[in-house]
C-alpha cells in the first residue's frame, strides 16, 4: 500500500480517525438511555468497524461485519426493542464503578497482550510464514478456485462450516420454539384473510 511518499502517514491518519469515531460512538452508547438511539449507534459502530477492517486489508471480515453487524443485528435488535420498553433505567452507585474497573482491567490486559503480537504486515510473522503460505500455494492445485478464503471455509474446513450452519439453524429453531406463538397466530390470521378475500370479491361482483 506504500506506493508513494506520505502513504504511511495517510493510512495512519485514516486508522486514527476511524478509531476515534469508534471510541466516540462507544462512549455515546454507554451514556445514552434511549434504546432506539443505542440500536442505531451500534449499527453505526459495526459499519465504522467494517470500514476499519477494509483499511486493514481484511475484506472478508469487513464484509461479514457490515452484513451481520450493521445489517441483520440492527434489524433484530429493533424487532426485540418493540417488545420491551423504550428507555433503559439509569444505574446508581456501585453498579457504575465496578463495571468501569472491570473494563479498565480488561483493557490493560489486552494492551499488555498486544506487545507480544507481530507488527501489522510483518512478513516474518507466524501467519505469513507457516500454514497461511502453505494454503496459498496448495489451493489452486487442489481446489482450483481463485478465492482462497472460500476454498478454506467450504472445503478444507467443511466440518467447521457445517458446525456454524448448525449453530445458526439451532438458533433459529430455538427462537421459533420459544417466541413463535405470536408469529404462528399472525401467520394464521394472514392465511385466513387470504382465504376470505376471494370470497368477498365474489360477493362484491355478484
Amino acid at each position: 500500500m506504500t506506493g508513494f511518499e506520505g502513504a504511511t502517514l495517510a493510512i495512519d491518519l485514516l486508522n486514527i480517525t476511524l478509531l476515534i469515531i469508534l471510541f466516540v460512538v462507544a462512549i455515546a452508547i454507554a451514556r445514552l438511555r434511549s434504546l432506539f438511539a443505542i440500536v442505531m449507534l451500534s449499527g453505526i459502530y459495526s459499519l465504522v468497524s467494517a470500514t476499519w477492517f477494509v483499511a486493514l486489508d481484511a475484506v472478508d471480515v469487513a464484509f461479514t461485519e457490515a452484513a451481520v453487524g450493521a445489517g441483520i443485528s440492527t434489524a433484530l435488535f429493533l424487532g426485540a426493542m418493540v417488545l420491551t420498553s423504550r428507555t433503559a433505567k439509569a444505574e446508581k452507585g456501585a453498579t457504575q464503578i465496578v463495571p468501569l474497573l472491570v473494563v479498565i482491567a480488561t483493557g490493560a490486559v489486552l494492551i499488555y497482550a498486544t506487545i507480544d503480537l507481530p507488527g501489522f504486515g510483518d512478513a516474518t510473522s507466524p501467519a505469513n510464514t507457516g500454514v497461511g503460505v502453505s494454503f496459498l500455494e496448495r489451493t489452486y492445485n487442489e481446489i482450483a478456485i481463485p478465492n482462497v478464503v472460500t476454498a478454506v471455509l467450504a472445503s478444507y474446513r467443511g466440518f467447521d462450516t457445517l458446525g456454524e450452519v448448525g449453530v445458526v439453524f439451532a438458533a433459529g429453531l430455538a427462537v421459533t420454539l420459544l417466541l413463535g406463538f405470536g408469529e404462528r397466530s399472525l401467520g394464521a390470521t394472514v392465511r385466513r384473510e387470504d382465504r376470505e378475500r376471494p370470497s368477498k370479491k365474489d360477493e362484491e361482483e355478484s
Binding site: A67, R86, L162, V165, V175, V190
Partner: protein, 150 residues
C-alpha cells in the same frame, strides 16, 4: 395506509429492496472470485425481507415469504449441507470429501467445484431461513408497529 410522511421511505425502499436481493445473489454466486459466500448472501437476502416488513408491515411480508416457508428453507439448507457429506460417504470417500463425489482421478476438480457450490447453497438457505424465522418470531408478537412506538 398510515400518514403521508412515510412516502419517501416507501418509494426509496421499493427501489432498493430488489437491488439488495439481487446483490445477495451476486455475493452468493460470485463468492468463488470475490469476498463473500453463503453466510453473507443469506444475511443480505434476509435483510431485504426484513426491510420490506419494517416498512410495509409484517402481514404483507408474511404473505410474500410465509413463516412456514422460511422454516422449511432453513431446514432444507442444513439437510443439503449434510446431504453432500453423505453423498461423499456413499461414493466411498470421507464425510464432506468433495474429491470423492464423482470418483475423479487425481487432478480433476469437478467434485470440489460442485461440492462447494452445493454446500454454499445449503448455507444460503439455512442462514436466510433462520434469520427470517427469528425476525418473524420477534415481530409477530406485536400486530402492528405504530408511529408512537418508536
Amino acid at each position: 395506509m398510515k400518514g403521508d410522511h412515510h412516502v419517501i421511505l416507501r418509494v426509496v425502499a421499493k427501489v432498493l429492496i430488489p437491488i439488495i436481493a439481487l446483490y445477495g445473489f451476486y455475493v452468493q454466486f460470485h463468492g468463488e472470485y470475490s469476498p463473500g459466500g453463503g453466510f453473507q448472501a443469506g444475511v443480505i437476502l434476509a435483510v431485504s425481507v426484513i426491510l420490506y416488513s419494517l416498512i410495509f408491515g409484517i402481514a404483507p411480508a408474511m404473505r410474500a415469504i410465509t413463516p412456514g416457508f422460511a422454516r422449511f428453507i432453513a431446514g432444507l439448507g442444513f439437510v443439503t449441507y449434510i446431504g453432500v457429506g453423505v453423498w461423499a460417504l456413499a461414493m466411498g470417500g470421507n464425510f464432506l470429501d468433495y474429491d470423492a463425489l464423482f470418483r475423479e482421478p487425481p487432478g480433476g476438480h469437478n467434485g470440489q467445484h460442485v461440492g462447494i457450490i452445493v454446500i454454499e447453497l445449503g448455507v444460503l438457505f439455512a442462514v436466510a431461513g433462520s434469520m427470517v424465522s427469528i425476525f418473524y418470531a420477534f415481530a409477530g408478537r406485536v400486530s402492528e408497529i405504530r408511529d408512537e412506538d418508536w
